[in-house]
Structure formats: C-alpha cells, structure tokens
C-alpha cells in the first residue's frame, strides 16, 4: 500500500532512514518538559481528589451519591458502559486491520491497543465503585451464579482484559530490544534497561523468532474479535435482560456493540490528534490515516443513527403504554428531551455532516467530529440508563414521589477522576513505551508485512448459542385417599352432636345430628366450619330437621392436612341453652396436600445454573483461553530460543 513514512523519513537529512524513524518515535520517551510535568501533576491531583471522594463514599455509604431507590444506577454505570465502549477501539482497528492486512494501520495499532487495556481497567473499576459492598467482592467467586448477567460480565471482561494485555504485549515484543538499546545509549536508569530486556524475551530478527511472533499475533488478532463483541453484548444484557421500558430490547446487543466501536474509533482519532501535536508525530500520523479512520467513523455513525432510529421509532410508533411514558420523558419537553435532541444534532448529525462533506479532508473537521461523538456517546449512555429508571411501571407519582436524578458532587468528582486516571495511565504508558509501533513502522509496507493473513475466523459455527433448557420439576405425590371411611369422634357435652359425611339426595354433605339425652333436637341452628392455618373458615349454617340433623355441603376439594384429614368444627348457635363449646371432629376426605410443585421453570433463579448453560459458557471460555495458552506457548518458545543461543 502506501509508504509515505519511508519516503518522508528518507528525504530529511542524509541519515539512514531507520535511524530517523527510531529517533522520532523514541523521542516520545525523552524526559518531559515543564508543560509535561504540569500535565502529569494536575492529573495526579485530580485522581487524588477522586480517591478522597471515594474514601468518603466508602465511609458514609452510597448515600453521598444522588442515587436513590428509584434511580438506583447513575453516572458510575454510565462511565462503565462508556469506558468499556471506547475499549473497543483497539479490537477493531488493530485486530481487524491486522487480519485484513491493511498497511495503513501501522502507526495506529499501538495506540488503539493501549486504549483498550487502559479503558478496560478504568471501566471495570467503575463497577466496583458502584457496589454497595465492595468488601464482599470475592462473593462473586464464592457464591457466583452463572445465570446472572453480572457473572457473564465478570467472566467476559476478565477474559477481555487478559486478552488485550496479551495482545498489546505480543505486538510490542519486537520493540523491546530496540528500546533496551536506546535506553542504554541514552544512559537511562539500568532498571528501565533491565525491564525492556526482560520484556523482550530475547527477541531477535531470526526466522524462528519471527515465525513464533507471527503465529502468536495472528492467533490473538482472531480470538480478540469475538471476545470484544461478547463483552459489549453482555454489558448491554445487564440492561436488556430486565423487564424495563427502553432496556428490554432485542437489538440492545448489536446496538451497544456498534455504539462501542463507534465511540472507540472516535477515541482513537482524538488520541491520535493529541499525540500528533504533543509529540510532533506529524510525519508519521498523516492526514491519510485520519481520513481513512474518518471513513470508518462515518460508516459507524450512520449505522448507529440507524440503530437509534430503529430503537426509538418502533417504540414511539407502537405506543405501548410504558414505552410512551419513557419517550415522553426521554424525547419530550424535559431536560432529558433537550439533551436527547442536542445529542442528535451535535453528537450525530453534525459529525456526520463534518465527515461526509468534502472538508472531510481537513483534520480539524475530523477531530471536531470525533470529540463531539465522544462527548455525545457519554451523554447517550446516560440517557439510556437514567430516564428508564425514572419511568417505573407503577408510576411513583401516584405515591407522591417524583424520582429524579442528577449526579452529586462526589459522583462528579469520581467521574472526573476516572477520566483523569485514564489520561494519566495513557500518558505514563507513552512515557515508557513508544506510542507508535517502531518495528511495524520500520517494516517496509510491501514485503515485510507479517503474514498474518489468518485463516477466516471460524467463529465457532459448531457452537449454537446457549439454548436454555427449561427444567420442569414435577414432584407431585398424589395418594388416593380412602373415600368412604368416615370416622367420627364424639364428645359428650349435654347436647350430643354427631358429625358424619354422607350422600343425601345424591349430594355430598356433612351431617350433624344433635340430640339431648337420646332425643333429637329440632330447630337448632348449627354452624359448620373447618380450621385453616390462620383462622376458622365458616362453611355454612343449617337448622335441624325433625330427625335432629342439620347439613351443609361438604367442602369438596378443600386441602386437608398431611394425612388428607380435615378438622371440622360444629357449633350450636341457638337455642341459647344448648350453646356450648364447639365440637371438633377430624374427618377424612380433604384433598391431598401438594408437597412442592414448581409451576414455573426454576432454571434461571435456582442457586445453581442449569447444566447446558454451564457447559456452553465453559466451552466458549475454553476456546478463548486455549488460544491464549497457545499464544503464551509461542512466547515461551521464543524465550527458550534465547536460552539456547
């Protein structure tokens, strides 16, 4: 493809071109000037302030945030989604461009991979900051339930962080010997020299070393793409798996993934612009690089706009009750509505305009669009999280409560601190390692491009997506209760009452026979009832007939006790001289009690995950981690080559 770098380098002075590239790129590692010191000092200051805010939050509880029972997630979750989002920069730019062997990626990859690792570290820490009990974080391992999307997050983010570290490192190995030499020549601290030497794994330009490196890089580039896609899908599912308007959406996975790559690409362009200016890398970060990324950014912004339209237009047009209420808040004449439409204009349409115009050639336009997109995407995430929580199904207003959220001072401080930490980490990284890949820049664009033409990423076609098997436990034990046998125990107060169950006129009835001294009592009012857990349930009243019997329908189907028996109670209500303590009789004929029947599949809320789910997750993870292991084996092999030499 293009080799403007070599050309640009060659025309300056008469030095060998490699030396100039090295000099220029490693210049980023030279001691800082006054401005650099002030920059770092102020970032450290902001981080310390945020640390104080966090300690204050730890000491007093999340009460110091503006989050309350209705809006229980706020800017911390927004930051989490945002940082995980921009972490996707590294994946796309670096891995996809490496696989497709696009030559123009070379000055960009290192920066992209570094953004991934650093943004992931900051993003993951936001979740811990959001936790009410960070001291119990290990419970996620001890009591972890694989059915919870938070566990999916934990597993995939951990896998992603490990992978991006490995990827960043593997791509840096060939730079390490150069760095070690450079540090030695410049008389830098021996410790730094030692660090570079250790990290180099004894890499030298031999075919064997090169072969191992190519293999490791190829494997990482392939595996990191599905991992990255899974991470943001799972992040979206933390919202998508709930029954909430605005969250419970089938497009949330791809919507978040596109949003992540969108904001990630914008982040890379912004970072490129900053480093280009700060480290005077104009010769290496050419307008062409910005323009190519701008084309990508344009495509992504159109895609994101399309997803947004699809998401909200269907909700608006369909007009489902809760969706309408959400949209009235989100896009109506409220503060959120204003932000939403401002985002639409400044975060989407104006950037699209800047990117689509002929002025797309201008760096200023591209960088302006990227910055707008980055700010806009943070606001967009906020608008996804907060208004939904302010729109519960049972309107809080009906109880005189108006849920409202605006971040507190502590939350703002910690948020600013998170951004400062990200910038600080990025600055420090660029002080120790070259922010442009020296070896890749040195490579001749034509021939030396490592043959990372990796076979198509066979995205596990064999792996069907996890189909959750429904576990139905039908544990009913139904024993046939002896039917006819009705045993009656009779107490012996003055009025004698006999309670039996019998068929009268083909009706199933309870019959009470009242007598005194052997003579039937007529016209006595008798009340029948049956005891239940919390009280006595009246079955009915009847007046005794000539034969002294009163009757009431038998409560067919009423559950009995463990033995299928019912405890009946018969009371005489009148005449008053017969009123006495109630007669209690236990009769068979109660419906059998069911022990425990699950009438819903409990797979998702039982304490243990169903086997197919566990198997699928473990299988997917194994695929990824075995690839990591393969990469590490390549590195170990490289190290061994050094020992042999």
């Amino acid at each position: 493809m293009t080799q403007p770098i070599a050309a640009a380098a060659a025309e300056s002075a008469g030095q060998p071109e490699a030396n100039i590239v090295e000099r220029d790129l490693l210049a980023t590692l030279n001691p800082l000037g006054r401005a650099g010191h002030i920059w770092i000092a102020s970032l450290v200051g902001v981080c310390l302030l945020a640390l104080v805010a966090y300690i204050y939050q730890l000491a007093s509880g999340l009460h110091v945030t503006a989050m309350r029972d209705y809006v229980s997630w706020g800017v911390y979750m927004t930051n989490f989604v945002f940082f995980i989002g921009i972490s996707h920069a590294g994946t796309l730019i670096s891995a996809i461009l490496r696989i497709t062997n696009a030559g123009w990626r070379r000055p960009i990859t290192r920066m992209a991979e570094a953004i991934t690792v650093l943004a992931l570290m900051v993003g993951a820490s936001m979740v811990v900051i959001d936790m009410g009990r960070p001291d119990r974080i290990l419970y996620l391992l001890i009591h972890g339930r694989l059915q919870s999307p938070i566990l999916w997050d934990l597993v995939s983010v951990t896998t992603y962080i490990t992978g991006s570290f490995l990827y960043l490192y593997v791509a840096m190995i060939p730079d390490m010997p150069i760095l070690a030499r450079f540090a030695r020549e410049r008389g830098r601290s021996p410790r730094l020299v030692r660090l570079y030497e250790i990290l180099s794994l004894g890499f030298r330009e031999t075919p064997e070393h090169r072969r191992r490196l190519t293999r490791a890089l190829g494997a990482m580039a392939v595996i990191i793409i599905p991992v990255a896609v899974s991470v943001h899908t799972v992040v979206s599912w933390v919202f998508g798996m709930t029954l909430r308007p605005g969250w419970h959406s089938t497009i949330f996975g791809p919507y978040f993934v596109i949003g992540a790559i969108f904001s990630g690409t914008a982040a890379i362009i912004t970072a490129m612009a900053v480093f280009r200016r700060a480290y005077r890398l104009e010769r290496y970060l050419l307008p062409e690089h910005f323009q190519r990324l701008a084309t990508l950014l344009l495509a992504l912004s159109l895609l994101y706009g399309y997803f947004t339209l699809s998401e909200y237009l269907t909700a608006w047009y369909g007009g489902f009750g809760s969706d309408s209420r959400l949209l009235a808040l989100l896009a109506g004449s409220t503060a959120y509505g204003t932000s939403f439409w401002l985002w639409g204009v400044f975060g989407l349409f104006i950037p699209i305009g800047l990117l689509v115009m002929p002025s797309r050639r201008s760096l200023t336009a591209i960088v302006t669009a990227s910055v707008l997109i980055n700010i806009g995407m943070w606001i967009k995430r906020y608008l996804i999280i907060v208004p939904t929580l302010e729109t519960p199904f049972i309107p809080a207003q009906a109880a005189g409560i108006t849920p409202h959220y605006f971040p507190s001072l502590v939350e703002c401080t910690i948020t600013v601190g998170a951004f400062a930490a990200f910038l600080l980490l990025f600055t420090l990284f660029s002080r120790i390692f070259p922010i442009l890949s020296v070896w890749e820049t040195l490579e001749d664009a034509e021939e030396a491009e490592s043959k990372v033409a990796v076979e198509r990423a066979s995205r596990h076609t064999s792996l069907a997506p996890a189909a959750l098997t429904i576990l139905l436990i039908a544990g009913a034990l139904i024993s046939v209760v002896p039917w006819a046998r009705a045993s009656a125990q009779v107490q012996k107060p003055v009025p004698r009452i006999e309670l039996t169950r019998s068929m009268v006129d083909s009706q199933d009835v309870l019959v009470a026979k009242v007598s005194t001294n052997g003579r039937a009592v007529v016209h006595a009012v008798v009340e029948f009832s049956v005891t239940r857990t919390f009280g006595v349930m009246t079955l009915g009243q009847d007046t005794t007939r000539d034969d002294g019997t009163a009757r009431v329908g038998f409560p067919v189907g009423l559950p009995g006790d463990a033995r299928g028996e019912l405890k009946f109670r018969v009371t005489i209500e009148s005449p008053s001289d017969l009123i006495g303590p109630p007669l209690e009789v236990v009769l068979a004929g109660g419906a059998p009690r069911v022990a425990f029947i699950d009438n819903v599949p409990r797979a998702l809320w039982s304490s243990r995950a169903p086997l197919p789910m566990v198997a699928t997750i473990i299988f997917l993870l194994l695929c990824v981690w075995i690839t990591y292991a393969f990469v590490v084996i390549q590195l170990v092999a490289m190290r061994r080559l050094k020992a042999e030499a």
Partner: protein, 312 residues
Amino acid sequence: MKMPRREFLRAGLLAAGGLTAGTVGADRLLGAGAKSSGPRAAATLALTPDGELVVTPSAEYAALAQTSDEVRRGVPGRRWVMVFDLAACDGCGQCALACAKNHFIPTDREYLRIFKMQDSPDLAPYWFPRPCFHCDNPPCTRVCPVGATFKREDGIVLIDNERCIGCRFCMAACPYSVRVFNWGRPNDPPEAHARGYSPEWGYPRRVGTVEKCDFCADMAREGKLPHCASHCPMGAIWFGDENDDAVTNSAGKTVRLSKLLRDRAGFRYMEELGTKPRVFYLPAVNRQYPAPNEPGANHGNLPRGGETQSAQ
C-alpha cells in the same frame, strides 16, 4: 451463617459447665442489642441437635433454631399468598404504618407502598397497596450474581443481607420498584438488635445492601398474620396458605381462596409480565368507602411516601 454463632455458644457452654453460665455466655455473645431485651427476659430451654440443654433468650432462640438452610428452604408444605381487596381499601395507610413500626423501617422507605391509581382520566381512581409480590417467576432472583436473594419453597422471596454485594441489579430487574437500598449507614433502634439477624425479618440492617417486604416470614412460620394484614381496619388484606385454599383477614374471617378469587374476579398486577405474583387483587367495584378524590375520602395521608426521593 448462624452456625458459627451456635457452635460458639455451645463451646462457651461446655467450658462453663452450667446452664447459668450458658445464659450469661449467650447474653455476651448476642452483643449490646440483647441487653436491651432486659435481664432474663423470656428465656427458653432449648435442646441442641447434639442433645444438650441450653438456655437462651427466647427472641434469640428463634434465630438460633433456624439454620440458614431452613431459612432458604421455607416452611415445608406451605405456599403463602396475599389478596388485596381494592373494593375495601380506603387508603388509610395503617398497613404501611404497622409494617414500618414492626420492621423498624427508616422514614426514607416503605416496604408496603400505597399508590393512588387512576388508569385513565375517564376511569375512577382507586387505592393500590403494593407489597413485594413474591413472584413465582421472580425477575429479581434470576439476576442476583451471588444468590443473596432467593426464592423459597413456601413462595417467599427473601434477601440475605449478609451475602448481598450491593450491585442493585435486582432493583433494576424488579418491574414493580419494590426493592429499597440501605444507601447510608443504618440507624436501627436498639430493639432491632435484640433478636439477631435473619433474612426472615431483615434487621438489623446493613449498609450497602438491598431489602424489601418479606411477607413477615417469621410471623407466618408461627401461624400469625403479617403485620399489614392484621392491622388493616377494613379487613381488606387477606393472607393465607394456597395449599390450605384459605385466606384470613384482620377481622379473623377465613374464606376459601379459590372461591374468593373466582367470585370477585381476582387478578394479578401486570399479568403480562409473566412474573406470576403471589399477591392477588380484587377489583374496586362497589366500593365500601368514598373513592379517592371524592368528598370524605382519605387524600394525601399516604403516610410516609413523598419523602423518599423528592428530598434530593
């Protein structure tokens, strides 16, 4: 969870070699809270699983008697159920007050909240008390990453505040906004410390953890109605065991559940969500009281709402 404490108690007993010493040991173990229950207040002679006799304060006995397994399993053979008669509820808020008092609920939250609902401007308003629905297909319990909230065999959904990590995913997942959070450090009265902690009553509270209506699991275990049901002056709250096919209200009246739901056209709130609540409602037809907004109606005496979030 309870085990170490019980083991410790027994160890103390053996060392002291006497019942009296055991009681003292128990008092000391139970901490400051136990003292407020008064010296020698209601002691229970209990037999440990290993056949030893111990004397413990009665209140503590309840906690000691239940291993965490029993708390997580629930009362065998029971399926607790609640029915709100919207035709009888006049929105007085006594249920929420009784609940708050007996659970020592701070003023910034409610387990049982009364909403003044009006489904459309043309339709009559009605009072809508909302406890936790203890769904049979609970969305909250699905998403808990650590199994801190759990569904029992007797239908109750509880939270173990000794395990909750405070991620608040369950709060986001509950479509009924039932769950509340200990945002600040709890300030429970001394009485709340008297019986020790159990998920069945949820206090003493712990900072950074989620809580909610517990269906008064401890009361049901003893065969007593929940505080809301027993304090309703209108008898509008029915509670019972579905396996019994009967529910009882504050007037002591017990009726057949299946018949009540059939005759009065009972329904569950937002059945379309598929959560299968264990709380039923009887529609507000033939009201026995002035509807909200009518002359003489209870209005605005929603006892504790309004303070929750508007303060911020």
